[in-house]
């Protein structure tokens, strides 16, 4: 198979797809948002529970392709326990990376490293972005005291 394809569907990504994290519904949620890419049919639900300015727990449920599900699963893994400031920073880095920007040297991406292969497939970037945009929009709305119901990357 082509190197590009192997770079897209890395083992780590497929592992997250088949066994996604953050699938346990929260008892109490402070932030709620949904993601939808209507032309794909991808649908995502996200809930965050805060403890001060930290993400105490997260629920992400995504119905979609391997890339969108895995990206959401990695998001859940990554942001749990982090402060809102840290989360915003990493979300911005991932969004930039998917759009072809360089990742700062001092950032440890962990499993998220495996999303690097997506940018070679322009039509699939929106899949990887869906969960991150849903998160970024939800945090921005909270800061502004605005209401939010859905986000999209289409």
């Amino acid at each position: 198979m082509s190197d590009d394809l192997n770079n897209l569907y890395r083992d780590i990504l497929m592992e997250h797809y088949k066994f996604p994290r953050g699938r346990k519904k929260l008892e109490h949620a402070d932030i709620h948002n949904e993601g939808q890419n209507p032309s794909c049919g991808d649908e995502l639900e996200m809930e965050l529970q805060l403890d001060g300015d930290k993400i105490k727990d997260i629920y992400v449920s995504c119905v979609g392709c391997a890339v969108s599900v895995a990206s959401g699963s990695m998001l859940a893994d990554t942001i749990k326990g982090k402060t809102l400031a840290e989360v915003k920073k990493i979300a911005a880095v991932i969004r930039g990376m998917l759009k072809g920007e360089d990742v700062p040297d001092n950032i440890d991406l962990g499993d998220l490293e495996s999303l690097r292969g997506v940018k070679k497939f322009p039509v699939r970037i929106k899949c990887a972005l869906l969960s991150w945009t849903t998160l970024i929009d939800a945090l921005a709305a909270r800061e502004q005291g605005a209401e939010i119901r859905t986000s999209t990357t289409e």
Partner: protein, 427 residues
Amino acid sequence: MKSHRQILEMSGGVPTVTSFKPERIKLDFPIFTRTVHGKPLIYLDSAATTQKPQVVLDTIEKYYSYQNANVHRGLHTLAEEATAAYEATRTKVAEFIGGVKPEEVIFTRNATEAINIVAQSWGEANVRHGDRIVITQMEHHANLVPWLMLSRKTGAKLKYIKITGDGLLDLSDIDEIIDSRTKIVALTQMSNVLGTINPVEEIIEIAHKKGAMVLIDGAQSVPHLPVDIKALHADFLAFSAHKMLGPTGIGILYGKQEFLEKMEPVTYGGEMISDVRFESVRWNTLPWKFEAGTPHIAGAAAFGAALQYLQNLGMDNIRRHELELTAYALERLAALDFIKVFGPTDPEKRGGAIAFADNDIHPHDLATFLDTLGIAVRAGHHCAQPLTKLLGVSSTTRASIYIYNTTDDIDHLADGLNEARKYFRYV
């Protein structure tokens, strides 16, 4: 060694029935000389748009190189030639769909625009609060949204003919759905997702008995089946050139003269008027009343070449070829226990647009994988979101065939589906 095209030219460009060989037809399409990811292109997305034969491409080039002028308004040679080429295709279309009058054939941008003209012009003048508009659950958005908007604007009720589990129209309560309040029934002759060929003749008869008009969305049927709109007695027919070897940006609205005469244009400008004063305007006669502005002249000329190409092959022969290939594809897919095919299992009841789902692999991952093998299929809801939801999935993968597809292409698809299982480690 002579190319297929050279052989055809020697024989007057008319292939005989026995010469319907997709392998040879492929040679007329330059796109099949290219590779995708280093593999020969296997194009299985003709329901989205078909590839173009050299003769269509040549016609576009010839038009812009040697005939380019605006139509209907110049007194010079080029303008006459451009007008002749444009109008010749209109006449050809009129013959192609069963020998209707050329003035009943209107050039549009595509099937979508054709349907919108009817919904806006005829619809807003004739549909009232309390009336009914009837469509089916398997409509493309192009034949759903215009009617949804019309029902919102007028207060008419939009009713859907349901589909059965095997993807056929459920006609059990058709007499209740198409009732005396029904003003128009708009339905596809062939589903772009399920492939289903609908019994439009029967539905037209029922609708006419109740005093309702019928619009046929022929975007998928006209390219693949012999369609005799006169024999069907349909009131309107919409289809697009690009799904039948022609260029994008040009489509057809056929309408019975008696209705078109009474309809108001929806776009205003040059070409569609006969007399303009500072205070008043008189519309042009049919068909130009509906063709405001400079039309897609090169597109019309090239569409003429596409129609000629199809006629040379013969629409009956095309249907026979696709029937055989669809049967073969259904058989190959049925043998894969991890694949579920949507739509009728009987190839006689369907065309060659075949939507399916892998039990484990998402359609987008599957399409990306197949693409690396050079196989072009479509993944998504195919502009029929309500239908996709009804099928209980968020999206499907669709393989769709045309005159240039071979059993070899289907074998590649089946092999590709097997390989995908291995690649994504489901076996």
